[in-house]
């Protein structure tokens, strides 16, 4: 807990500092939006610059070297709870940043976005870039902060369509809207195709003979899904291939009404319809299939529908 201050000491107007030729050049360049370091006699580049080589005490050379504006984080410290005098009012990191072309690191603010905890991408070695203020005065705060380099962009995408289902599907869904399941019988193979497509995919011929199918069928095979689905938010849920009585092929559907681990190949099921007042021209009229009290169908009778 912070107690309220009860005494303030503030120098009128703030102290003045003469920055000298080396730091002066650094700050002048900063005001122009550029970053420079100074070269030591030993050839190293100091950023921020000093008038002397901190290792040897010798004067630095008069060579100023452009560095940055990108750099590498050499270490960092997370500020979870910024103080009023801190440069940001949300969590951030203090980081030592070695600008490209420099041999020493500069302490500055690293803004990684809105995160309560240090994000996983914040690590030693990460690449960052200086963000300059528009209105610069020749001070270290002419750099507002450092930010991660751009490594990815977000590309929103949306396509709009006007779709028509086609004649066969429209007829099938009209049946569903009336609580009926309609298929087509193929003239060539004699199989009933449901939902009908107006053709037999195997024989490549048009189909038109309508057959109304019962709402009962047999589970041929199934999966127990442990990953949730918007249509089946409870896990586990069972997705099953159901062979309607009289149909020539299976349809994928939810099976419910019993624990997932009791669903069986060969199990007899019936379509569970939503209340009539909720019906639309959509397959969602059938909520799922649920078991009925009939003996399982022997495997031999379903093995050719797998």
């Amino acid at each position: 807990m912070r107690s309220d201050v009860n005494h303030v000491l503030e120098f009128p107007g703030g102290y003045t500092r003469s920055v000298g030729p080396v730091i002066g050049r650094f700050l002048s360049e900063l005001r122009d939006g550029r970053l420079v370091g100074v070269r030591t006699a030993g050839g190293r580049v100091l950023v921020p610059p000093a008038e002397y080589d901190p290792d040897t005490g010798e004067d630095v050379t008069d060579e100023f070297v452009p560095v940055g504006p990108a750099g590498t984080v050499t270490t960092w410290s997370w500020v979870a709870d910024p103080r009023p005098t801190h440069p940001l009012d949300r969590p951030f990191a203090w980081a030592l940043i070695r600008l490209d072309g420099a041999d020493t690191a500069l302490l500055h603010v690293l803004d990684v976005g809105d995160h309560a905890e240090p994000p996983r991408f914040l690590k030693t070695g990460m690449r960052v870039r200086a963000k300059f203020r528009d209105d610069r005065v020749g001070g270290i705060r002419d750099i507002e902060c450092f930010r991660p380099e751009v490594t990815s962009i977000t590309d929103p995408s949306r396509l709009e369509y006007r779709l028509q289902g086609g004649r066969a599907l429209d007829r099938f869904l009209s049946g569903i809207a009336e609580g009926r399941i309609i298929g087509h019988r193929c003239d060539v193979c004699g199989q009933v195709i449901v939902p009908m497509k107006g053709l037999c995919p195997r024989d490549g011929v048009p189909t038109s003979e309508e057959v109304e199918l019962p709402h009962t069928g047999t589970v041929t095979t199934f999966a127990v899904n442990n990953l949730p689905d918007p249509r089946a938010p409870e896990v586990p849920f069972v997705s099953a291939y159901v062979l309607l009585d009289g149909a020539g092929l299976t349809m994928l559907a939810l099976v419910a009404g019993l624990p997932a681990d009791q669903v069986r190949m060969g199990m007899r099921v019936r379509a569970a319809w939503r209340p009539r007042e909720e019906w639309t021209k959509s397959m969602s009229n059938i909520k799922w299939f649920e078991p009925i009290d009939e003996p399982d169908v022997p495997f031999d009778e379903i093995k050719d529908y797998l």
Partner: protein, 385 residues
């Protein structure tokens, strides 16, 4: 009769969960440049480019062949895109080979890729019109019932899938490019992972990977100056079938049986288990090894699981399947088929590194896609046909 076609260059990126360091173009160029280096060629030596990837909705890049033409050095050259769902990496290579076998081009660059980290495959695979219902169950939810049907039909014991999951990950430890590397992988480890889509456990599924694979295919003339030994195409075949029709066998699809028969006939193979030295087969869920062993005629129907159980498909078995670690270890979807084809070529070139099958001279590359409805296969050999 077709002109001979050689594989003189193979290039792969490392397969990883995320390649944030590379743009899509950069990822493809990485693989393509490695293939060109292997072939001793530069971009300007290439006559035509054939690329392949999974459906556009995966990364939301439509017409990638237009966007990537200049990135792949195709300015002023033919470029085309192939599109057959998960089998696309295989069919892309076959289309590229066709450009050489027809005598149209001498040097064709072919590249396939996926950047799954920029994608949502489960979403992209289950977008549907308002007229149909769909369960957002992804590929695992789709294939799990068919695996259950195989288990019931063949009487295979439950642990067969586990054996494949372990074997392929052990192989991946020897492959420098593989994505999933799990030292000490064991049956207990696989069996302790949760059921995602029963009967499929977490470690019985493939990962989601970023990556690209490329090959340089060449005519006999062009292959003569290649610095490394070539692989030769002995046969290519593709088949497809509708996803729903009365009488369809989803466990042992007719399309796969016919495709295998076609490619064996071209290569003069009557007994694939005896006459091939290894196979790279698209096995994204572990149970698809025994299922495809049967579909591809390596054994009789109902016998695939026995072959797996006997160790015949292990790296030291008589017919190693997926020495690279397979799709179970690396899965940049659009590239996964091409990786199978390229790994088969590396084996017969003797360039597979630590996962080399000793003395491999003939190998099968295989890919399938959609609801097990697209098939692409090639047989490559070290001898010129």
């Amino acid at each position: 009769m077709a002109e001979p076609c050689a594989i003189i260059g193979v290039g792969q990126t490392a397969y990883r969960t995320r390649r944030p360091d590379a743009s899509m173009a950069g990822l493809l160029r990485e693989a393509a440049r490695r293939a060109l280096d292997d072939a001793g060629l530069t971009w300007k030596d290439i006559d035509a480019v054939v690329i392949g990837k999974a459906p556009d909705l995966f990364e939301g890049v439509t017409m990638p062949e237009a966007y990537l033409a200049d990135a792949l050095g195709a300015a002023g050259k033919p470029i085309m895109r192939v599109h057959t769902a998960g089998s696309v990496g295989g069919s892309t290579a076959i289309v590229a080979a066709g450009l050489v076998q027809s005598g149209v081009h001498d040097r064709v660059l072919t590249v396939a890729w996926e950047k799954q980290s920029e994608s949502n495959a489960t979403w992209a695979l289950t977008v549907n019109t308002p007229f149909t219902t769909s369960l957002v169950v992804g590929a695992g939810g789709y294939f799990a019932p068919h695996i259950r049907a195989y288990m019931r039909r063949s009487g295979a014991p439950d642990h067969i899938g586990t054996l494949v999951a372990v074997k392929d990950r052990e192989n991946a430890l020897k492959n420098q490019y593989a994505h999933l590397k799990i030292p000490g992988i064991s049956r207990e480890m696989v069996e302790s992972t949760p059921m995602l889509w029963e009967p499929i456990r977490y470690l019985e599924t493939c990962p989601s990977s970023d990556g690209a694979c490329a090959m340089v295919l060449a005519s006999s003339d062009a292959a003569r100056s290649a610095p490394n030994p070539p692989a030769w195409v002995h046969g290519t075949a593709m088949r497809s079938e509708p996803i729903f029709f009365a009488g369809r066998d989803t466990v042992n699809p007719r399309g796969g049986i016919d495709c295998a028969a076609d490619v064996y006939r071209q290569a003069g193979i009557t007994d694939p288990r005896a006459e091939l030295d290894c196979a790279e087969v698209y096995v994204p869920f572990s149970w698809y090894e025994p299922m495809w062993l049967e579909n591809l005629g390596f054994c009789g129907e109902g016998e695939g699981w026995k072959l797996t159980e006997s160790g015949a498909t292990a790296l030291d078995g008589d017919i190693p399947w997926n020495p690279s670690g397979g799709v179970l270890s690396s899965n940049p979807i659009g590239a996964s088929g091409m990786i199978r084809f390229a790994e088969a070529a590396l084996q017969v070139r003797g360039m597979a590194g630590e996962h080399q099958v000793d003395g491999a001279r003939r190998a099968l590359g295989h890919a399938y896609g959609g609801g097990a409805q697209f098939f692409a296969m090639w047989i490559v050999g070290s001898d010129r046909p």
